[in-house]
């Protein structure tokens, strides 16, 4: 008996355990194996990614019209594939991909498509046969936002993490995004988010991370936000940095003051210890 006479179920299972590197070598074993590699699923990989970037090393300084090459790098498993983002090179990659597997699964897959001039359809063609559990989307421009919407539409059953890094969408755009497993808003120097927008964001997304930004919110609205999070059936954790006067206003409204004794319970709060700012500073110093 020869290996290719083994049950189809077994051969497919075997090919799901092969690393990409060995699939490439198996292509060279025999004609039948070359076909088997092409016709079988590559199995599951915990993580993968596709990035675009400009390669400035390709600039010919003697040529004033020379530009940095637009590059695509795709990583899965133990392999990465880097190529110039041109239609004919993409066709070569797609041909190779079609000879390497019929499908592939990823636990998570990152999209960092920072070169706007590379059409999103390039990426969509590359990941066409992919099954992706979780998409990580990095956004720096409005084009990236539109591209991300297309990718989300291509993977409607996946979960998503969005990183707003250099670009803050308009409120309407922000609120029209689908629910994210994680929404990271880390855009520097942007106007404050309104309380109303903030309420909608914490309701929509499981994890909302606002960094280097602020929310225009008074203590009553902050309290409302905390109540919304507490009432949410999803597992939620809130970590907020609040201006001192906002927090004081909230605590006073709950009946807490400087003279409140430790172990006093006031509505939703239990006072563990009552320290002056000087005592707190000394404690911090001791802990350093």
């Amino acid at each position: 008996m020869e290996i290719l006479a083994l049950p189809d179920l077994f051969l497919r299972k075997l090919m799901r355990t092969m690393e990409i590197d060995y699939r490439m070598r198996l292509r060279l074993v025999s004609r039948a194996f070359e076909k088997l590699v092409a016709d079988t699923h590559a199995g599951y990989f915990a993580d993968g990614s596709i990035h675009t970037y400009l390669d400035y090393n390709t600039i010919d300084e003697s040529d004033p019209n020379s530009r940095a090459a637009e590059m695509i790098i795709i990583c899965f498993g133990d392999k990465s594939f880097t190529f110039v983002a041109k239609p004919e090179i993409l066709s070569q990659f797609l041909h190779l991909r079609n000879r390497l597997f019929s499908g592939i699964s990823f636990g998570a897959f990152g999209f960092k498509l920072i070169v706007d001039s590379i059409p999103i359809d390039f990426t969509r063609q590359i990941v066409k046969q992919f099954k992706i559990g979780h998409l990580r989307l990095h956004l720096n421009t409005e084009t990236h936002l539109e591209n991300s919407r297309k990718l989300i539409a291509d993977f409607p059953r996946s979960t998503y993490t969005m990183y707003l890094q250099q670009f803050m969408p308009e409120v309407e755009q922000l609120l029209s995004l689908p629910p994210m497993k994680e929404m990271h808003m880390v855009v520097p120097r942007t106007p404050s988010i309104s309380a109303a927008t903030f309420f909608q964001l914490i309701t929509a997304h499981k994890l909302l991370h606002i960094y280097r930004e602020s929310v225009a919110i008074n203590w009553q609205e902050l309290k409302h936000a905390m109540q919304m999070i507490s009432c949410d059936a999803r597992e939620r954790t809130a970590r907020v940095i609040v201006r001192n006067d906002s927090m004081v206003g909230w605590l006073r409204s709950e009946g807490l003051s400087e003279s409140t004794e430790p172990r006093t319970i006031c509505r939703g709060f239990e006072l563990i210890a009552n320290r002056t700012p000087q005592q707190s500073a000394e404690d911090d110093h001791d802990n350093d």
Binding site: I3, L6, P7, K13, R25, A32, F83
Partner: protein, 172 residues
């Protein structure tokens, strides 16, 4: 409900008969279905034997594996979308397969057990043999792969060059 004392008689493709405990055969989807189809009382020994399309020598190996794994949990967990792993073969299973190295044609024994595991629908044994073969192939050169898989290269030099060119392109 499975009655572990119940015995099942298996007749092999080369005419031998082996009687085994239901505690072992419960891991075989094929045998379980055959018993169900007979509609016999689970307390009784089936009057008809279950015919399995496996030779006597291979069935003995399968039964040896089933005996070791008689207490494995059922149903066998499906792992289609989990992390690929071939390095988690239990020590007993590794030793079980290594014993075949002394046989004249170890690869044929492995293939026979794989085929039997598929026919008898024993998912755990199929998984183990799959990982065993994957471990043999992984890390090997193309020539070594051909030797392990007992395959001749049937490409022309031009075809090989073309595939190498494609592979080399994606490594750049």
């Amino acid at each position: 409900r499975i009655y572990p004392l119940m015995r099942v008689t298996l007749t092999t493709s080369d005419g031998a008969s082996v009687t085994v405990s239901r505690q072992l055969t419960k891991h075989s989807g094929f045998i379980e279905k055959a018993i169900t189809d007979m509609a016999v009382d689970d307390n009784a020994v089936p009057l008809s034997a279950v015919a399995v399309d496996v030779d006597d020598a291979t069935l003995k190996l399968v039964i040896e594996w089933l005996t070791e794994h008689r207490d494995d949990a059922l149903p066998y967990p499906e792992k289609t979308d989990e992390e690929r792993r071939a390095d988690d073969i239990p020590a007993w299973d590794q030793a079980f397969v290594q014993k075949w190295d002394t046989k004249e044609d170890q690869q044929q024994t492995l293939y026979a057990v794989i085929t039997a595991a598929d026919k008898l629908d024993i998912k755990g044994l199929l998984d183990m043999t799959c990982k065993t073969l994957a471990n043999k192939i992984n890390g090997k050169t193309v020539e070594e792969m051909r030797e392990i898989l007992q395959l001749e290269c049937d490409f022309t030099e031009e075809e090989l060059a073309e595939i190498r060119k494609e592979n080399a392109w994606c490594e750049n």
